[in-house]
């Protein structure tokens, strides 16, 4: 007979299964208690309901996601005047119905308890609440006392009619000081594409490629258009199944989905690309005619053995990749921040693009971005050279007034920039933001913005597939804090009305401005509809398709000049500040859903960690969970270690996004910010901040701060021989199931 101690989990569940109905029911009458107090809540009926509104049943409205610059179309479920769920809009060309976790977490931006509810004006050391009129009057007074380039705007990616109003305002005050900053960007590739293809945003036709070689492009993770590329990637994987080869220092979400994942020594991506070109020409007789003579001479200098020595990739692997690129056509070579973020980042991209040219991908999988008919609506694309330029100009006293829109440079700027100190050289600073953060702490006026789920707008995504659209943003509900927050468009319009009352005084609000702009569209957009019907049809669909002229791509890679790989004995490791679909550049650290959603690779939550290769870890005597100090010439961070094979032996990856000092109750005091210890390295050609250009040393820490310990989902990296997931080789499968 079993004793009570023999009750294990399984028999407990069994018993619950059979016996619970009777057992549980006896307890159900106690809860006369679990009912709700009568009269404690109000229940308000509609005065005159819309015909289609049924309380308890949601209605879906189309809008646009602004959680990252990708500009996906969304559908928001609205019930009883509240937005409750956000999903992808199937009519949106960019994301075709998909939505990532950042988009899903948009609700926590909107309903975040830390949202700003009142404009604030600095009085000495502290802020006092103010009314909008008072705050705007102060701003316009300060602007009126100055003018020209001394009025600066520092924003994140902005497009559509907000960009139109921003341009109009800058013109009205006679300024050209516009700085657009995104830490996670594709700026080096954009400059390279402009020089090589004469098109800054060519379309990467992922779905059309048969083999993709990615140099650190986290296409389905932190990229220009994560959901769009994920959709493309799914089609790329359909029959016949495309092959993805990923070369990067640290495994990304895209790398984890690759057929062949190859860790390369950070910064040697360009060398690998030239080595592959060399193998293709020498071993596979690919005609080098599309490449310039100069470039062919450079390629000759990179035979497989030398490339293998520099990059740490075995020669056999290089040959395997070259053979795969030769076997099928068209192929596609792409680069991401892990290849771009070096002093020679531009050269890495140029080398990768030379491979595209050599393989004949231009016009096949690399397509023209087309001519967008409304250039004034195009996105002002973010980069990090603007951050550096702004800091430099601020230090030299170039600005009297600076506006910060939805951006937090005090947090994202590396420590060496001394951004805080440079800010103090600007006499008057205004922040337009939803939350108090590290930057708003140093400004003079804070204007609380409406969330994107309660505001109007139009957006033209910086990266779009072949079909171009303008994406519509409409409020999914009434403002949560009516009268005390305002949309960006409304603030810009109010400032413009003050400068140019004759031109803009006629628009009651930003909505009226948008309506006017849509009325002014050429007739062929409206398909015979009147103003109201056209507006409604666009809002219902959520996107307006915009025909673009076709423009064939030309390609000219002049030459590629790659530096020798430098060893550094004092700081032997490469710091890899990694980005992920989640906290992004840190802007989402205040959303608990994204904090508790595990990192796609490390499975860690609510904190920071350092990824380290097992060989490196055992050499340093470090295990998962141990604390280390990662030190560059610019500073140090202390983090627990996650030992994992998906990283190069010479690389230490620390995720971006944590280490906030003042960003509300959820973000503050968690983890570390690796951007702070970046060295002053920039890409020599574009001036972009070289995110991957920092060398660090690692020392073991006997005891770390308890609050920073590593919290991970999933205990084991292997199936420890238990075959939890049954697998079969493709060969066996074909034999048993028939090919």
């Amino acid at each position: 007979m079993k004793s009570r101690n023999d009750m294990n989990r399984r028999s407990f569940l069994k018993m619950m299964g059979w016996g619970s109905a009777g057992v549980a029911l006896s307890g159900c009458d106690m809860p006369t208690t679990v009912t709700l107090e009568e009269g404690a809540e109000k229940v308000l009926p509609y005065v005159t309901p819309e015909e289609f509104v049924i309380p308890g049943i949601g209605v879906w409205y189309a809008s646009t996601c602004l959680q990252c610059p990708a500009g996906c179309g969304i559908h928001g479920r609205v019930r009883e005047g509240r937005v409750l769920k956000v999903e992808g809009n199937p009519d949106a060309v960019i994301n075709a119905g998909g939505l990532c976790q950042m988009g899903q977490a948009g609700l926590q931006v909107h309903y975040n308890p830390d949202r700003l509810r009142k404009p604030k004006i600095r009085k000495g050391e502290r802020f006092v609440d103010a009314g909008w009129e008072e705050a705007l009057a102060l701003v316009t007074e300060k602007v009126a006392a100055s003018g020209g380039d001394k009025i600066a705007w520092f924003t994140n990616t902005v497009s559509g009619h907000q960009a139109v109003l921003l341009d109009a305002y800058l013109k009205a005050v006679g300024s050209s000081s516009l700085y657009v900053h995104e830490t996670i960007n594709n700026a080096v590739a954009q400059v390279a594409a402009k020089n090589i293809f004469d098109d800054a945003t060519p379309v990467y036709a992922v779905a059309k490629a048969k083999v993709i070689l990615s140099f650190g492009a986290d296409l389905i993770g932190a990229s220009d258009s994560p959901v769009g590329f994920a959709k493309d990637y799914a089609r790329f994987r359909e029959s016949p199944r495309g092959m993805l080869i990923q070369i990067e220092p640290k495994m990304t979400l895209t790398g984890a989905n690759a057929d062949l994942w190859v860790p390369a020594r950070p910064g040697t991506e360009g060398v690998v690309a030239l080595g592959l070109a060399n193998l293709l020409i020498e071993k596979h007789q690919v005609d080098p005619a599309p490449l310039s003579d100069g470039l062919r001479r450079v390629i000759k200098q990179y035979p497989g053995t030398k490339v293998s020595e520099i990059s740490g990739i075995p020669v056999e692997t290089l040959q395997k990749i070259a053979a795969a690129l030769k076997a099928k056509s068209p192929t596609l070579v792409v680069t991401g921040q892990y290849a771009q973020g070096h002093a020679h980042g531009y050269q890495n991209v140029a080398a990768a693009m030379a491979l595209n040219v050599l393989l004949g991908n231009v016009g096949q999988t690399l397509l023209s971005g087309g001519e967008f008919p409304f250039p004034q609506l195009l996105a002002k694309r973010g980069n990090s050279r603007d951050l550096l330029a702004f800091a430099e100009a601020a230090e030299s006293g170039a600005f009297d007034v600076a506006f910060f829109v939805n951006s937090n440079p005090v947090y994202t700027a590396p420590a060496y920039l001394k951004f805080k100190e440079k800010l103090s050289k600007i006499p008057f600073k205004v922040a337009l933001s939803l939350f108090e953060d590290e930057t708003t702490a140093h400004v003079d006026v804070i204007l609380p913005l409406a969330s994107y789920l309660e505001d109007w707008g139009t957006h033209v995504a910086p990266y779009q597939p072949e079909t171009k659209t303008v994406s519509m943003q409409q409020p999914l509900m009434e403002p949560l804090y009516p009268g005390s927050t305002r949309g960006l468009g409304d603030v810009l319009l109010a400032l413009l009305k003050d400068r140019l009352p004759e031109e803009y005084g006629g628009f009651e609000d930003y909505y009226a401005f948008l309506r006017g702009a849509f009325d002014a569209l050429p007739a062929d957009y409206k398909q015979g509809m009147d103003s109201e019907n056209f507006w409604r049809s666009v809002l219902t669909k959520g996107v307006l398709e915009v025909p673009t002229g076709d423009r064939p791509l030309t390609a000219q890679v002049e030459t590629v000049a790659l530096p020798e790989y430098e060893k550094n004995t004092e700081y032997p490791f490469h710091l890899v500040p990694s980005a992920r679909l989640g906290l992004w550049d840190g802007r989402h650290a205040n959303l608990p859903w994204l904090q508790e959603a595990p990192d796609q690779i490390a499975k860690a939550v609510w904190g920071s960690w350092a990824e380290m290769h097992p060989a490196t870890a055992s050499r340093l005597g470090i295990q998962t969970g141990d604390f280390v100090v990662i030190e560059s010439k610019q500073g140090k961070v202390e983090v627990p270690v996650y030992v994992y094979r998906g990283i190069h032996k010479d690389a230490i990856a620390v995720p971006m996004g944590q280490g906030h000092e003042s960003y509300g109750r959820y973000a503050s005091g968690l983890g570390v910010n690796p951007l702070k210890i970046l060295e002053p390295v920039t890409d020599q050609k574009t001036g972009e901040l070289a995110l991957m250009g920092t060398r660090v040393k690692v020392t073991r820490q006997v005891k770390g701060q308890r609050k920073n310990r590593l919290v991970r989902f999933g205990g084991s990296e292997t199936q420890v021989g238990r075959k939890l997931v049954a697998t079969i080789t493709a060969d066996q499968f074909n034999r048993t199931e028939g090919a």
């Binding site: 159900c28 009912t35 709700l36 049924i54 309380p55």
Partner: protein, 212 residues
């Protein structure tokens, strides 16, 4: 643990809602002696709803002061208006819905316009504001209850049941509202009440039918 503290904070509203129930429980307990007396007073005969075993249980609800002393009895008992004429969402949605003001004014722009209550109503209508009704019947947020499914089972898909007699089905959970002015909760609406009715009438018994 700072992290777990944060998570509890996120659920603040849920937590306070539960504690409100417990406060309510105390008063329910204190008045439980009056249950039988209450039953005798409201015990008008209910005609049989076919294919249904009405749920058992009573609850002595308290008077809830409402912005307008709405007479259910005048509307339902005296004038024979069907419940679903005003609570029009019941058959289509999880909530029955408080009728929109426009529905009230559909009749009361001409009927009984001299009455004080209608004058108050008209005032709300002219201001374009809904009367701030107090909620009487409610289940906790972790209970998924839908009027639509229940009306389907007991009225629309119930052979021999006449839609005109829907008030008898409503009375299963809401009591004899036809005899009341403003509604008073006189059924317990707790899990035992629900479960017994589900057992007697073939309702689903898996946990996630209601807790999802």
């Amino acid at each position: 643990m700072p992290k777990s503290k944060r998570m509890i904070n996120m659920g603040r509203f849920r937590m306070s809602a539960v504690s409100a129930c417990w406060r309510g429980a105390a008063s329910v307990f204190a008045t439980s002696v009056m249950l039988l007396v209450g039953l005798g007073m409201t015990g008008s005969a209910v005609a049989e709803v076919p294919n249904a075993v009405p749920p058992e249980g009573t609850h002595q609800g308290k008077d809830v002061p409402q912005p307008i002393l709405f007479p259910h009895n005048t509307h339902v008992r005296d004038n024979g208006i069907n419940c679903m004429y005003c609570h029009t969402y019941a058959r289509r949605s999880k909530v029955a819905g408080i009728p929109p003001l426009s529905k009230c004014m559909g009749c009361h722009t001409v009927i009984a316009t001299d009455k004080e209550r209608i004058k108050t109503l008209t005032k709300y209508w002219k201001e374009g504001k809904p009367p701030p009704w107090k909620k009487v019947h409610d289940v906790p947020d972790y209970v998924h209850f839908t009027h639509e499914k229940h009306l389907k089972r007991f009225v629309f898909d119930n052979e021999g049941m006449d839609v005109d007699r829907v008030s008898e089905v409503c009375a299963f959970c809401h009591g004899e509202v036809r005899e009341m002015t403003v509604a008073i909760k006189n059924k317990p609406l707790n899990m035992g009440f629900c479960r017994r009715c589900h057992e007697n009438n073939g309702g689903p018994s898996d946990c996630w039918a209601c807790h999802k």
